[in-house]
Symmetry: C2
């Protein structure tokens, strides 16, 4: 299988990111297309087209990162919210049949964690957890070198019993997601500074020393620290990686998270487990989807 | 290895429970000794004696359930609280050397989950999580037939950000443990009904229809539901098992937990994942320690 390459596809609610990935995590022919969300048929046709454009003889497999929980046994996406993909579709089987290649599917945030583990911020450890802070909050974990194959929907850990309603169609209350995303930051920024201040501008204000901006980011970071505390006490990782667009808030959010983690983690784990920023940027999911493809070959 | 048997040891803060365990989970020569907590030397001597009393030619391995997080790589107990066992002791190595047999160690609640998975309430599923509600709150998970080897310290998930202080030496706030144990129930019962009403009596009062007793147990159950929600969204188990002495509260606690789980779990998982009571009682940890011993042979 050496020398072989795979196609990785990171399917998001707005973009299909596809590329050819090799064993070293290098991406060739990176392509971005808007996600057709009009209907399931259009979505599948869009995926087919994105793959066909990259197919060549030496492609050994195809891997997908999908924005939903995954039923690995059945090879299906469960309750996808941002894309029109029904649970009744045998997604993995369909793709296998259509392209005659091994196909792996994973949750998109799991795939991104896998990418960071092999080629990014966590390349030197054996066990890690990752949280992705963007529009939503996703996550993934690698334990002893293996991608954790539960749901790993870390954005939907309950960190405030009976807390604020979750985002989108999630019926949960007090999940991590509505406390720590860029969307959450923008909401708080609007309330404090008016409608022209979004998450990005909030971080800028904090950098300029605006005390309420610093305080808002600190509150977000402290909630993040509770979520990381739960993850550390469950997974005992060597490293915690924070990715996604809102990771740009950096230490304004991560320092308070570190402080709360020290309090919440058992066995002084908070003192020895670093919280660091992701390194692969928007390519993490694509590279991870490629790794999922390589795993499907083996 | 067929026909061989192992020694399982469930080490608790008050009792050493030891026995000979066979491949079918049957326990022979079950023995209980008080845990010597005066010093580490006394504790280790007590464990040695409990094992020596059971040693026979056909014993293939020894497995321990220890009341602390475990460093599996180093074979050590981390930050044990209820027993005088230091992190510097190479526990697994010492036992291997002393008895000349393969030795496995696990967290006691992980071991209990393993026991329930193979021979108890979860014997018909492939993936499960278990929470043990007793003096403290422990837990364990089995995924696709394999014991989850993170810390799985489910009692120390944060379910109330900045909530009430955790028990014992844990510095955490709003962990699941102080909301859902028998100790927590006793505390609430004292406050409501006076010092003669403990958790056991509280459940009795609820059974007699006392509305405040029902309400207190409901509050405990709802917090438990938040914790289970986190576990379901991370592990996607087929079944949730509740063990430990306080599981005797039964549906007074489990029905509200089920209700909250339906709200918190993604993909309607709360509708299809049953929450059931454990079946092996106090033997779960001992049987699980035996399974850990069998795993150490393989």
């Amino acid at each position: 299988m050496d020398g072989k390459r795979v196609i990785g596809v990171d399917l998001g609610g707005t973009k299909i990111l596809a590329g050819v990935v090799d064993h070293d995590g290098h991406v060739a022919q990176r392509r971005e297309h808007p996600t057709p969300t009009g209907s399931q048929d259009e979505l599948l046709a869009g995926l087919d087209a994105a793959i066909e454009e990259l197919l060549e003889d030496e492609i050994a497999a195809i891997g997908f990162g999908l924005p939903s929980p995954i039923d690995q046994k059945a090879g299906r996406a469960l309750q996808a919210v941002n894309i029109p993909l029904d649970e009744s579709v045998d997604f993995r089987g369909r793709m296998r049949e259509r392209f005659g290649l091994p196909v792996g599917i994973e949750n998109d945030a799991n795939a991104a964690a896998y990418g960071e583990f092999r080629f990014g911020a966590a390349r030197d450890v054996e066990s890690m957890v990752m949280l992705t802070l963007g529009t939503g909050c996703g996550g993934g974990a690698v334990i002893d070198g293996k991608l954790f194959r539960g749901w790993a929907e870390f954005g939907h850990m309950v960190i405030v019993h009976d807390g604020i309603p979750c985002q989108g169609t999630c019926t949960g209350h007090g999940h991590l997601e509505p406390y720590v995303t860029g969307v959450a930051a923008t909401k708080l920024a609007h309330a404090e500074f008016g409608p022209a201040v979004d998450a990005h501008r909030l971080v800028r204000l904090a950098a300029e020393g605006e005390p309420r901006a610093v305080e808002i980011l600190e509150g977000i970071g402290r909630h993040l620290g509770s979520g990381i505390g739960t993850l550390v006490n469950i997974f005992n990782p060597e490293l915690v990686v924070i990715g996604g667009g809102f990771a740009a808030a950096g230490d304004f959010v991560l320092d308070p998270a570190r402080e709360v983690l020290r309090r919440e983690a058992l066995a002084q784990a908070g003192d020895r487990i670093p919280i660091v920023r992701a390194e692969l940027g928007t390519a993490a999911g694509l590279i991870g989807a490629g790794l999922v493809a390589f795993d499907a070959v083996e």
